[in-house]
């Protein structure tokens, strides 16, 4: 091992000084990466894993700086070299793959220009040799028709192909070490597995050391040889991936692994992960029989079909024109029909661009469908909305949106955000009563009673999502639409939010439409599932049936590509749902 050692971090410490004292992002971590090895760095947001990568590259954003420890690369100490030496090093010895392939390539230069420029700078090549090399590199990273595509601009590549170009760019100066910072987070599952395969094979062929930074334990399990688990700037556990994942020694690792939704069976609840977030935990108890939240009219309790969408299509205008012939449209939904029964959780799953969010927005009344009908308990909402009288039904349909950082008005206090729908729909007699109910709701979703006094920016992502849930409950809805409610959250917070949603669904007998791209989450949450692709609904089945015997080819493909924690166990043939 010692002979093979490529990168060695010794008690690395990174601080970000600020007005209110220094924030220690990384406090004294040790890390060794050997050639030909993929070393994972896993942790939740704020754990400092990206900071480690940036520190090695010398790319710490000011005022961040290394305040202690040593970084050794290939037998030379690199943490104290000057800027020019660091630049040479960055080009020749270390390559970096960034998260977002949309922004990490220069849109004004062709792929060839970007590759050739880098190679001529760092390798002793003339232009023609560099061009030849560029085509070769694109072949290696698996881009079809490389000689032709090398002349193209980044926008002419799809997301996955673009990430391959980024990898080629990282490889083009023959580095010894590659730092991949969340290389697949912005990509769909099917493309994610291809990119990970590529990184694995390149690592083996070229005998590279790779540091793979990710929050996704599934990615770690599928890809890495060794892994370090980070928590609040420290490495809590480090070792062989198989060992760390199967016999985690540290409590945090155990909590992290248990919070990952299981694709192979449905659990009644996620195991409680109290180690991780401070805000989660005790829920205030409300007696629903007497409380405002449980006060429904008899007519609002119902059984049978709650919502139904009937061959709904949606076209978005791509080009506006006075002349109808010249207008162009994009078809986001193509004759989608399904119905949701009272008290069930109906899931919609699909990759990005499959139209699942559009369905949610049409039902919630943000968009009007181009064609088709939306029925809520037998009433045609589309006709009603055109007539302008949507208030009464609108109140019964609420939505929880994806991004907790933009779904709350930053200039309003939480109390006013949640009270607004109640006051608007006149569900409470007075402002004082509204505030009373708001405090109860906040307590019920697991935040303190005094949270209402604060502004949204004082809360973390998970806490904000709880506020969103409280706001959605404030109209006493019967149908709750959750559009990717946890995709912006860390896995432990996701577990808490999903538990909360489950509890609320049960005690309030809510009907839910649950939208996600994440199959394991769908498995945990839903009773029935619809699979979407390219604006069409491919199949609808009960969750059990869908996961055990998927009908449609695309569904089977999605199932196969799902990252699994049991990937390591596959050779030993333990995985029950192996493809």
């Amino acid at each position: 091992m010692a002979t093979q050692e490529l990168l060695h971090l010794k008690k690395l410490r990174v601080e970000f000084p600020s007005r209110r004292g220094a924030f220690v992002a990384v406090s004294g971590i040790d890390l060794d990466v050997a050639r030909g090895e993929i070393h994972g760095l896993v942790g939740e947001s704020g754990a400092g894993k990206s900071t480690v990568g940036n520190a090695i590259m010398g790319l710490l954003e000011p005022p961040g700086r290394i305040t202690g420890g040593e970084i050794w690369l290939d037998g030379a100490r690199i943490d104290a070299v000057d800027a020019a030496a660091m630049r040479r090093l960055r080009g020749r010895k270390v390559g970096m793959i960034f998260q977002d392939p949309l922004t990490s390539l220069n849109p004004l230069l062709t792929v060839e220009e970007q590759l050739v420029e880098t190679m001529m700078l760092h390798l002793d090549l003339d232009e023609t040799a560099a061009q030849r090399q560029a085509v070769e590199l694109l072949t290696q990273v698996g881009i079809p028709r490389p000689a032709e595509r090398v002349k193209q601009y980044p926008h002419q590549f799809s997301g996955g192909m673009r990430q391959r170009v980024v990898i080629a760019l990282a490889l083009c100066s023959n580095p010894d070490l590659i730092i991949a910072d969340e290389p697949t987070t912005a990509l769909d599952v099917s493309i994610q597995s291809q990119i990970l395969e590529l990184i694995k094979s390149l690592c083996r062929e070229r005998d590279l050391g790779v540091i793979l930074i990710t929050h996704d334990i599934g990615v770690i399990a599928e890809t890495t040889d060794r892994v370090a688990v980070m928590y609040r700037g420290r490495v809590v556990e480090c070792g062989e991936t198989a060992q760390v994942l199967h016999e985690p020694a540290h409590e945090y690792t155990r909590a992290l692994i248990s919070a990952v939704p299981r694709p192979d069976m449905r659990l009644p609840r996620f195991p409680m992960v109290s180690y991780i977030e401070e805000g989660g935990g005790v829920q205030g108890q409300i007696d629903l029989a007497s409380h405002w939240l449980g006060r429904f009219d008899a007519s609002e309790r119902h059984s049978g079909e709650v919502a139904r969408i009937d061959s709904v299509s949606m076209h978005f205008t791509l080009r506006r024109s006075i002349i109808p012939k010249r207008r162009t449209y994009f078809t986001a939904l193509d004759k989608v029909s399904f119905s949701v029964a009272a008290g069930e959780v109906f899931g919609l799953v699909g990759e990005s661009g499959s139209g699942k969010s559009t369905v949610a927005r049409i039902i919630a009344g943000i968009y009007n469908p181009s064609d088709g009908r939306v029925l809520y308990r037998g009433t045609d909402l589309t006709a009603e909305r055109r007539a302008g009288s949507r208030r009464s039904h609108q109140r019964h349909i609420q939505m929880i949106l994806q991004d907790p950082y933009s779904s709350l008005n930053p200039r309003m206090r939480v109390r006013n955000i949640i009270a607004e729908p109640m006051l608007f729909h006149r569900l409470v007699a007075s402002r004082a009563e509204a505030h009373e109910v708001v405090d109860d709701l906040l307590e019920h979703v697991g935040l303190g009673r005094d949270a209402g006094q604060k502004f949204p920016h004082e809360f973390s992502g998970g806490q904000r999502q709880r506020i969103s849930i409280a706001r959605a409950l404030a109209t006493r809805p019967r149908l709750l639409i959750c559009d990717e409610p946890t995709s912006a959250l860390d896995v432990s917070i996701q577990a808490q939010i999903l538990n909360l949603l489950k509890d609320l669904q049960e005690e309030l007998e809510l009907t839910m439409l649950f939208i996600s791209h994440d199959l394991p989450v769908i498995r945990q949450m839903c009773d029935r599932v619809g699979v979407m692709q390219g604006g069409r609904l491919l199949e609808i089945a009960s969750t059990e049936q869908l996961f055990e015997q998927p009908e449609h080819a695309h569904t089977r493909e999605l199932m196969r590509l799902m990252p699994r924690l049991d990937a390591l166990a596959r050779p030993r043939a333990v995985g029950p749902a192996g493809a």
């Binding site: 900071t51 949507r390 939505m399 779904s407 709350l408 729909h425």
Partner: protein, 314 residues
């Protein structure tokens, strides 16, 4: 990516929080900004309390003697110690005239900024939130508007008002003409900025969330969009205050603006300009200096505000 863990807790209470905020921190750590703020404040105080602090009342004809006209500043040969900065062609004390002139300039500046911001914000919100054909029409009007210089509009407005109210060449009417013309020629700036921010805010999820609640559009615009687009407006307004004062000076200089019996800074500069080649440089120099310092100070404040509030430039 790492969040800053606060070592010192943020204090409670409105005033304490303001004093502790990052905006205020960047204020008192920038000496230039503090200086600019103090100068601006001083100008405002002088303008407001001109009646009490001005050494002479320039409007009282009994006080003015033609014998005192065109006296140089007190420290020069032939200067009179009663008139610190000298006198103008009618024997008015220049220092007092500047103090009173400042008042007019600031009044015009503020009124026109308020009016144009009001028009611009309203148009911008409407255009950005409604979109479609209405947006196209409003923005084309703004484009056309931008191609007319303020002076042309001022002449137009001046002509129309004089036609409507013949013989009433009162001071109030003149101020009204100037304010209206400045507002008309500057509103597209606000409208464009507000429209752009409105479109950004409109696509954020909190707007969708209130749409799902079922709030009508006017309520969404006023309660949710407006507070979130006001930041840039504030910045443009500070910079436009300086611009408005300059436009007023230009208009007065050309003779469209405020009549010389009630001189604003611009009028003073124009009067002085006639005497520049006769060697009476002080009549135009001191008002111009006051104007330059005021505009510079307000502009610096505006720049600072832009840097603090605009996340793109940080």
């Amino acid at each position: 990516m790492a969040e800053v863990r606060r070592v010192r807790a943020a204090p409670r209470g409105w005033l304490a929080r303001t004093l502790d905020s990052d905006v205020f921190y960047s204020f008192y750590t920038s000496p230039v900004t503090v200086l600019a703020a103090l100068i601006t404040l001083a100008f405002f105080l002088v303008a407001i309390f001109a009646h009490w602090i001005a050494p002479h009342d320039t409007f009282d004809l009994a006080n003015i003697s033609i014998m005192d006209s065109e006296l140089p500043p007190a420290w020069l040969e032939g200067g009179d110690e009663r008139f610190l900065l000298g006198t103008d062609d009618q024997g008015r004390d220049l220092l007092s005239a500047i103090m009173f002139g400042l008042r007019l300039s600031l009044l015009v500046g503020f009124a026109s900024v308020l009016l144009s911001a009001f028009i611009g914000v309203a148009v911008g919100l409407l255009s950005g939130y409604a979109g479609g054909t209405l947006d196209d029409v409003l923005m084309r009007i703004a484009d056309v508007q931008l191609s007319f210089p303020a002076i042309l509009i001022a002449l137009l407005v001046d002509g129309i008002t004089k036609g409507l109210f013949p013989g009433e060449a009162s001071e109030l009417l003149a101020i009204f003409v100037v304010v209206l013309s400045i507002a008309i020629s500057t509103w597209p700036q606000y409208a464009r900025t507000v429209r752009a921010s409105t479109m950004v805010e409109k696509s954020k999820e909190y707007i969708q969330a209130v749409q799902v609640i079922g709030l009508p559009s006017w309520m969404i615009v006023l309660r949710h969009v407006l507070p979130n687009v006001l930041g840039p407006v504030l910045v443009i307004a500070t910079i436009n205050l300086a611009i408005a004062i300059i436009i007023e000076a230009t208009l007065s200089f050309l003779g469209v603006g405020i009549p010389p019996t009630q001189p604003s800074l611009g009028t003073l500069i124009r009067i002085g300009n006639n005497y520049l080649f006769s060697g009476f440089w002080w009549i135009t120099f001191f008002p111009a200096l006051a104007l330059a310092v005021l505009v510079l100070a307000v502009n610096m404040l505006g720049d600072w505000l832009r840097d603090v509030l605009n996340p793109k430039l940080r």
